[in-house]
């Protein structure tokens, strides 16, 4: 199947990030041609019509999010682009930041205009040094050309963008953690309510969207929300970037139309499993989404509803493919260690619980597990999930519950044998295969 390309509609030849290249492929046309004719409310209306859902992981419709801003408000409104792409397995925004930054900037100008943002921020995770350079250069070009810092053609609206570099914390991928980080505070999340749309950055109404979401806005405005809605499925409109990693022949970032068959994607775009191995499991939307077995994904399509029906979630679109021969206990040990390491430490269940989970899983992998440990794991997650300040707590529990449930036998084998039953080159998941 050939897919409509919205975000990766260019040849990836190393020049796509420049303003020149972007203009050549029709960039910034919405600013030149559409904005003079559209009111902010009309821009918002198109985005609403497109029904595009937040691409960061939660999948909340962007247009509806924008309309949560208070109506009569005398404080400045802020827009933040969340480029703190930290979920393990996720690296799709990076391609936009590095190779198509002007599309993001155009999207941010449109979004700022729609919500009348006084100032916009692009927050880029600390580890993305190259992306940061590219985005900074692009923002500079946009200022020099007058897309930023000057009134948009036909209006008195001026869009300002500041690029902000993170210091490297998974938890600032959460909106409120990210805002604290911009404010110069420790990257820790806030209790909600108040929600950012009411009280966000510097206690002012704030809209935060993912890179991919904002980068889709120029196409929506250029072609109309209805046209976008026609792509994909009724409830999952548009295209989606997927970042595929793990035991596939062609790992990388692909743009597909939502509704595409997962198995087709795996066998065609991702090139199938390496070494002709059999598929063992798939984590479909980033490390926090529950793991699925081959039988769960047979008829699954890539969209919010179908993956949810299969028992997981589209999340950020980070597909981690796991081949036969991989030790799931070892894999879970790695994932639980990640969450322990990234817990910000604010709230008790996550601060204490993530480390506890990790130590139990490690003990099982090392051969010192007990059968009671398996129930203990799920009773610990029961008291972390939904009892924390931010979703990191919930995220840490997704893999534990689903691994123990779906691969219980493997855990039991470790416990009975007093060690890891796997050997060979797939034992250690993180080893290069």
């Amino acid at each position: 199947m050939s897919h409509k390309k919205i975000l990766l509609n260019f040849e990836r030849n190393g020049t796509s990030h420049t303003l020149e290249s972007y203009l050549k492929r029709g960039g910034y046309q919405t600013i030149a041609e559409k904005i003079p004719a559209l009111s902010p409310a009309e821009v918002l209306e198109e985005v609403k019509k497109s029904a595009i859902r937040g691409r960061g992981g939660a999948g909340f419709p962007a247009g509806i999010k924008w309309s949560f801003l208070p109506k009569d408000n005398d404080k400045p409104v802020y827009l933040i682009c969340n480029g703190d792409e930290g979920e393990p397995g996720t690296f799709k925004d990076r391609v936009i930041l590095e190779e198509n930054p002007h599309m993001l900037i155009e999207g941010m100008i449109l979004a700022s205009y729609a919500i009348r943002a006084k100032h916009a921020y692009i927050y880029i995770r600390g580890e993305y040094g190259f992306a940061l350079e590219r985005v900074k250069a692009a923002v500079k070009e946009a200022y020099e050309t007058g897309y930023l810092g000057k009134p948009l053609k036909g209006t008195d609206f001026v869009c300002e963008i500041t690029v902000h570099k993170g210091a490297g914390a998974y938890v600032v991928g959460d909106e409120t953690g990210l805002m604290n980080s911009i404010e110069g505070k420790k990257g820790q999340t806030r209790n909600k309510p108040p929600f950012p749309a009411i009280e966000g950055l510097y206690k002012c109404p704030t809209i935060i969207n993912n890179v991919e979401t904002l980068a889709s806005v120029p196409w929506i405005i250029a072609n109309g929300g209805d046209a976008y809605h026609k792509i994909g499925t009724e409830k999952s409109s548009g295209t989606k970037l997927l970042s595929v990693s793990g035991h596939v022949r062609k790992p990388g970032v692909y743009e597909v139309e939502l509704g595409y068959s997962f198995m087709d994607f795996l066998n065609n775009e991702a090139g199938g499993i390496i070494d002709g191995k059999k598929l063992k499991a798939v984590i479909p939307g980033g490390s926090s989404t529950p793991v699925l077995k081959p039988e769960d994904i047979k008829d699954m399509t890539i969209d919010y509803e179908s993956i949810t029906a299969a028992g997981s979630s589209l999340g950020s679109g980070a597909v981690i493919v796991i081949a036969e021969g991989t030790c799931m206990v070892k894999l879970l040990e790695i994932l639980t260690h990640f969450y322990q390491h990234e817990s910000c430490g604010q709230c008790t269940p996550c601060r204490e619980g993530t480390g506890w989970l990790h130590r139990i899983v490690r003990r099982i992998e090392e051969g010192n597990g007990k059968m009671e440990d398996l129930d203990l794991l799920t009773s610990i997650t029961k008291h972390i999930a939904f009892h924390t300040i931010c979703p990191l707590g919930d995220a840490a529990c997704g893999p534990v519950d689903s691994f123990v449930k779906k691969f219980r036998k493997e855990f039991e084998e470790h416990i009975k044998q007093g060690g890891c039953p796997y050997s060979g080159k797939f034992v250690r998941f993180q080893e290069k295969v």
Binding site: Q340, G345, Q346, T348, C350, R351, T354, W356, I389
Partner: protein, 484 residues
């Protein structure tokens, strides 16, 4: 004020709009367990101990972060809430050392108390605990034990919101988090540092002056009022065997909330310097009764040429008796002074907009109310007098040098040394009475320890009054307060 009606566990309650759910429940007899919430700090919602169920809300909500809403239906006693509380306590305890036998907080520890009340379950934790620094000196006053810390951030918020020094922060992440100062910094110049010790819910912060000195359940608590300045912070003086072991703020929203300054605290816990003792005439110890009759006779004979200098360390009741005495004898020269002693320590804050007042005496307001006619001692014309009755420490020597001095004071200062008649008095921890603070609030306090080789000023004035033929308006603090 607008009111809001909600139901908690089926019971209808009405509270002012904007009240936090945790306070609304408490005011109505339903105590919600907590660690991070403190009613005088901004809530931070991090410990999750106060989670409750609110109808129409699928997730449990932190009651310390939730303002009440009209019609809200709250459940605090469901099996689910009970289970959450147990789980939070289990989480808090997995890395917490079992230090209770050697922990100063034992006996008044929120973790111990809430574990006993809301859990009591055995831990299912079988791993190695996270090890951290146990002896982190936060300067000369305080020690921090990172293993006991439950990172509730109360201490951080106290330096942020109360003392406003912003000295503490939580560094690292996850189960490695701990409280720290900037490199090389201390809490020594935070004028409210000891408040972090009082309000740490566990034994992570200990005061060096009290550490390992006494188990808290052996201490006798006496409600008192700090005499360190005219704020009059409400305090508990905690004693055993007639010795002060610890001083802590006593909550009073109108005066000091939950705080007191370190200067005030050290006023009680550092051994007092230069205490006066005994009854003396011409530097020789005399019998108290002889002292009383000689002084009474002298005052009676020389009333017209005696200057009476009132003490701003005196209680209102003592002042009332003194007032009766000077009126009875017809003493006209009445003076007050600004006592500024005992505050030479370096880094001392003279006054701030938090608690500390510049006037370091506790009862100047009481003096001025009792003796509205009193003049500032600086304006005294020395040639008008032959005698001076100087009460309390801190009078300017040069003003009264040359007069025949009768000194009634708890402190042996220069004037004490120059006096012809000396009677050692008591400090506020040694007596009952009341002070009037700078705001006009009259506050009672009780005697915490017995005075040593010194005399109760109240009794002294009663005795002198009787000696000069007057009937004292009362013989106890209560009687005098009722007589006024």
């Amino acid at each position: 004020m607008k009111e809001v009606t909600l139901t908690v566990d089926g019971k209808e309650i009405t509270v002012p709009a904007g009240t936090l759910l945790i306070d609304a429940c408490e005011a109505n007899g339903i105590y919600i367990p907590r660690f991070c919430y403190h009613k005088h700090l901004f809530p931070s919602g991090n410990c999750r101990m106060c989670l409750v169920m609110i109808e129409k809300n699928p997730k449990p909500q932190p009651s310390c972060m939730t303002p009440v809403v009209e019609g809200m239906a709250v459940h605090t006693n469901t099996p689910e809430v009970a289970e959450i509380r147990k789980a939070i306590l289990e989480f808090v305890l997995i890395n917490h050392p079992l230090d209770c036998p050697i922990c100063d907080k034992a006996g008044e520890c929120m973790l111990q108390d809430q574990y006993m009340e809301f859990s009591g379950d055995k831990s299912r934790f079988n791993e190695t605990k996270v090890a951290k620094e146990k002896l982190y000196h936060f300067g000369r006053k305080i020690i921090y034990d990172a293993e006991r810390c439950i990172t509730c951030s109360r201490c951080v918020r106290i330096t942020e919101e109360v003392s406003k020094t912003n000295k503490l922060g939580i560094v690292e992440r996850g189960d490695r988090s701990y409280v720290a100062l900037a490199h090389g910094d201390t809490l020594d110049d935070d004028p409210y540092a000891y408040c972090v010790v009082d309000n740490c819910p566990v034994g992570a912060l200990t005061a060096k002056y009290f550490r390992f000195k006494e188990r808290v359940w052996y201490l006798h608590k006496t409600p008192s009022v700090c005499a360190g300045c005219s704020r009059g912070c409400n305090i508990w003086i905690e004693t055993k065997d007639n010795k002060i072991y610890r001083v802590r703020p006593r909550e009073n929203d109108a005066v000091n909330k939950s705080w007191m300054c370190d200067f005030g605290r050290e006023y009680y816990i550092l051994p007092p310097k230069n205490r006066a003792s005994g009854a003396k005439i011409n530097h020789y110890a005399v019998d108290y009764n002889k002292f009383v009759s000689e002084v009474a006779a002298l005052l009676k004979e020389h009333a017209a040429e005696t200057a009476f200098v009132a003490s701003a360390y005196a209680t209102n009741e003592e002042l009332a008796l003194a007032k009766q005495l000077v009126s009875h004898l017809g003493i006209k020269g009445i003076f007050h002074k600004k006592d500024r002693v005992w505050q030479e320590s370096s880094g001392e804050v003279k006054e701030d907009d938090i608690l500390i007042k510049q006037d370091k005496t506790p009862n100047m307001a009481g003096v001025k109310k009792t003796f509205p006619e009193a003049k500032d001692i600086e304006d005294m014309v020395i040639s008008d007098f032959k005698y001076a009755f100087v009460w309390g420490p801190g009078a300017p020597l040069e003003k009264i040098d040359g007069l025949n001095l009768i000194v009634l004071s708890a402190m042996a200062d220069q004037i004490w040394e120059k006096a012809k008649y000396n009677l050692a008095g008591r400090i506020s921890s040694e007596k009952h009475g009341s002070f009037t603070n700078f705001n006009g609030i009259v506050q009672n306090f009780r005697r915490a320890i017995k005075g040593d080789n010194n005399y109760d000023e109240l009794t002294f004035f009663i005795d002198v009054l009787k000696e000069v033929g007057a009937d004292p308006i009362g013989r106890t603090v209560d009687e005098i307060q009722n007589a006024k």
